[in-house]
Subunit: 110 residues, 2 copies
Amino acid sequence: MTDNIFDLTGRKLDRELFESLCETDQISIERIISTGQTTPPDQWYDQSRDEWVILLQGEAQLMFEDESTIDLKAGDYLLIPAHQKHRVSYTSSEPVCIWLAIHAALTENE
Amino acid sequence: MTDNIFDLTGRKLDRELFESLCETDQISIERIISTGQTTPPDQWYDQSRDEWVILLQGEAQLMFEDESTIDLKAGDYLLIPAHQKHRVSYTSSEPVCIWLAIHAALTENE
């Protein structure tokens, strides 16, 4: 009846994994497992929905279009508004990065 | 720009704390800090919205109306559908329990 967000049993960690934990038309709750992967240097996430994201294990860095960066450690969370371009510029592989992301309309502008 | 879910700076832990992290009409993302508190024995949570909840620190136990229980450790998560009566029958105080709860329409029935 419960699952554990840190449980990697049976997962092949040779690529970044995106796993839906709960999904409706309006909201998506997703686990992301990163093992050193980053967004290719010339690519950006430009998402149609807001994202509230928390890093639960590992260390990571996000970069924004103005080249500012945010270093993340376990427990750090932030809201990335829709269409705020960003890329993942670093993820640790030991330990593996485990993210919890909530995609939904989360700001009053929508 | 980021906050940390484990940061208890400035919090008085003499009662259970419910803190909104992100809120719209449709969704609420909430941190709950429990330090040994439980739901009074004759009371139940009977919520109008679904709740997806993860325990991120500590140990806890939930009880349902049929008296079945679920023991939770850090990282365990579950979906509690709207109106599924439940109570919190145990929370550890060392370490403090830190929960992340998402209240929204999360099942297809709504």
